[in-house]
């Protein structure tokens, strides 16, 4: 699982792309350009990238309401996502889904999800398909520290063990579910142990550190791929924005956000590591930054100019075939 320079540059580019996508989305939402409810992934980028760097298009992921990062890391078309946020008919989901429903099944992205813990049961099914076909593929579901309290999440974890399917349950603990802290919402004081009690190994990671997540994910995914049944990744992380754009964040401690941005920034951590090892120079990373900024800028320009959907598209794509009747 050693990462060569190309891998490292790709991982950094992914994290930076997610960061800039989210920060730009934030700006455009504040400008009134993007409608609906949007939950930003800023601060958690290393989790998505550390996991998805192990995956190919044939592996499946299913994401959450905070889905942009997972989708980008799994290879979703960034301009297409931006157009989707704008509600354009050229968007990745033709403007039907928006932020909470970004999806691209061809890339193994079974969708962001507006229902908390809607995803884990579906990931068991995707993993079951891989098991039946014996193709060595895995299915990943992302959950938050809040999502894990939903019955569907418990059911999915247990069923995955019962069926011995290659499902990987990734739990990103950013300490809050909306406005409630994990110390209140998770009744026991060790969520990792609670998850392991279902009967699969859970590998711990520092969600602000790409290398830490990459390593833990490698173990979990290898476990699942090799036919030993499900596994988990438990990462401590932090989101740099509110739950949704516009959240007043009364739940935060004073200085908490500043501290997160200062000390738990995966991009800074990555750069520090590269400075230490000398694998990639700061100039090379700066060049990646500039390229990413240009891509995001262009995707916003394109999203603003993209075609708008027309009323007859409302009833398109409800079914594949509904017969002559309508």
């Amino acid at each position: 699982m050693s990462l060569d320079k190309e891998d490292l540059l790709r991982a950094y580019r992914m994290m930076k792309t997610i960061r800039e996508f989210e920060e730009r989305a934030h700006t455009e939402i504040m400008n009134g350009q993007i409608a609906g409810f949007t939950h930003l992934y800023t601060g958690q980028e290393a989790n998505a990238v550390g996991i998805c760097e192990h995956l190919s298009d044939e592996d499946a992921i299913i994401s959450t309401h905070r889905g942009h990062g997972h989708c980008i890391a799994k290879g979703a078309d960034v301009p297409g996502m931006m157009k989707e946020l704008w509600g354009s008919s050229e968007g990745l989901c033709k403007g039907k889904g928006g932020s909470m429903h970004v999806a691209d099944v061809d890339k193994g992205i079974l969708g962001a999800n507006g229902i908390v813990a809607g995803g884990p049961p579906i990931s068991v099914g995707a993993a079951l398909a891989a098991k039946i076909r014996k193709n060595g593929k895995v299915a990943i579901s992302f959950s938050g520290d809040g999502s894990v309290n939903q019955g569907t999440c418990f059911e999915a974890m247990n069923l995955a063990v019962v069926l011995e399917v290659p499902a990987v349950f990734v739990i990103e603990n950013n300490y809050y579910s909306e406005h409630t802290n994990i110390s209140y919402a998770v009744g026991c004081d060790d969520l990792k142990a609670r998850t392991e009690a279902f009967g699969f190994p859970v590998f711990e990671a520092d969600g602000a550190d790409f290398f830490s997540v990459y390593e833990a994910a490698g173990k979990a995914i290898e476990h699942a791929r090799s036919g030993k049944g499900p596994a988990g990744v438990f990462a401590e992380t932090g989101r740099f924005h509110g739950h949704f754009v516009g959240d007043p964040q009364y739940y935060r401690a004073e200085g908490e956000l500043e501290d997160l941005r200062e000390n738990s920034d995966c991009l800074k951590n990555f750069r520090a590591r590269m400075a230490e090892t000398g694998e990639i120079s700061a100039e090379e990373l700066d060049a990646v930054d500039a390229e990413v900024m240009a891509v995001i800028e262009q995707s916003v320009v394109d999203a603003k100019a993209a075609a708008r959907p027309t009323p007859e598209q409302v009833t398109a794509d409800v079914y594949i075939n509904y017969g002559a009747a309508s």
Partner: protein
């Protein structure tokens, strides 16, 4: 009389009901907010602010935050209600009924009947319902039309702040389980609302316009749109009854039928998709019970048979507007 928003009117009803009766409590996700967090507990009051201030006024035992666990929230409410409490549970978005349907439909809604009439379950479950926020397929559904089909549940859909307060107070004192659907686009709409407590009985429609040519029945956020349509038609010499049933279960069938018998025409308006919905239900009622009075076709105005789209312009064409209601009213006269 003071003007209050629908959000504030419901909030006031909750404050008053909790002050008046110790057995009333609220439970749900972030109904207080910030529990376990560094910030001050109770500063959220529900994501739409409807339970604002209840934590400060009544404390953690009566304004109870939960994990994200809709089935357990509904069960906790109905179980406490079976034991004599009067819980008001919040399920943030009506769409999340998908998660807790069993607890509502198979459990809470059937206790009394299956127990041979020997139980009461005075629980209220509140939901923010309906479209209008570009919130897409999983945060925009009305759901009340679906829940109306289940015997044992009462279903309330207020269309203005005044009704919302009176209906909420009725819901809390009602001995049956009540599902209370708050059209979320109306939270900020204000009208005159008395400060004192009052109740509005279930199954009693309100007449918001009176006219001779057509009966218009509308629910929730469609009520103000129907009023707009009717007012616009006045200039063309067309006058209509506008009926807001306020509760779909029980339904004030007498008010609807009497009006249809007088006007001879019927338009039914709802924002949900058409199949097995309230517009079809009420159209069938009139066709069955008032056929001989009808002078023209019954018209249904509703969303198409599709999920709610995200894109703002798609959603605008998805949710019925006053021009579609005007066309339907004229359609009954064609």
């Amino acid at each position: 009389m003071a003007e209050k928003t629908m959000r504030d009117a419901i909030n006031e009803a909750l404050h008053q009901a909790m002050a008046a009766d110790d057995s009333v409590f609220v439970i749900g996700e972030d109904v207080a907010g910030c529990n376990g967090a560094p910030g001050e507990t109770g500063t959220v009051g529900g994501v739409f602010g409807v339970t604002s201030g209840l934590y400060q006024a009544f404390g953690p035992d009566r304004c109870i935050d939960t994990p994200i666990s809709e089935s357990a929230i509904v069960g906790a409410a109905s179980g406490a209600a079976l034991m004599g409490m009067r819980p008001v549970a919040e399920i943030m978005f009506a769409d999340f009924i998908g998660v807790c349907m069993d607890q509502i439909v198979n459990q809470m809604g059937k206790f009394r009947y299956m127990f041979g009439g020997k139980s009461r379950c005075p629980a209220v479950i509140r939901f923010a319902a309906g479209g209008g926020f570009s919130a897409a397929g999983q945060h925009s559904q009305s759901m009340y039309q679906v829940m109306t089909s289940f015997p044992g549940l009462k279903v309330v859909i207020p269309s203005n702040a005044y009704d919302a307060k009176g209906l909420m107070l009725q819901a809390i004192q009602d001995d049956d389980p009540v599902l209370f659907f708050e059209p979320k686009v109306l939270y900020q709409e204000a009208c005159e609302v008395p400060d004192e407590m009052y109740t509005i009985p279930f199954g009693e429609a309100s007449f918001l316009r009176e006219g001779d040519d057509c009966t218009v029945v509308a629910f929730g956020q469609m009520v103000p749109k129907a009023a707009q349509a009717i007012d616009a038609l006045e200039a063309e010499g067309i006058s209509c009854d506008l009926i807001d049933p306020r509760t779909s279960s029980p339904l004030d069938t007498n008010a609807i039928l009497e009006s249809v018998e007088a006007t001879g025409r019927l338009v039914v308006v709802d924002e949900a998709p058409p199949r097995c919905g309230l517009t079809a239900d009420i159209a069938a009622l009139a066709a069955d019970k008032a056929f001989s009075s009808l002078k023209g076709p019954i018209k249904q105005v509703c969303a198409p048979h599709s999920p709610t789209p995200f894109s703002p312009e798609l959603e605008a064409s998805y949710i019925p507007d006053s021009s579609k209601i005007i066309a339907a009213i004229k359609g009954t006269m064609a």
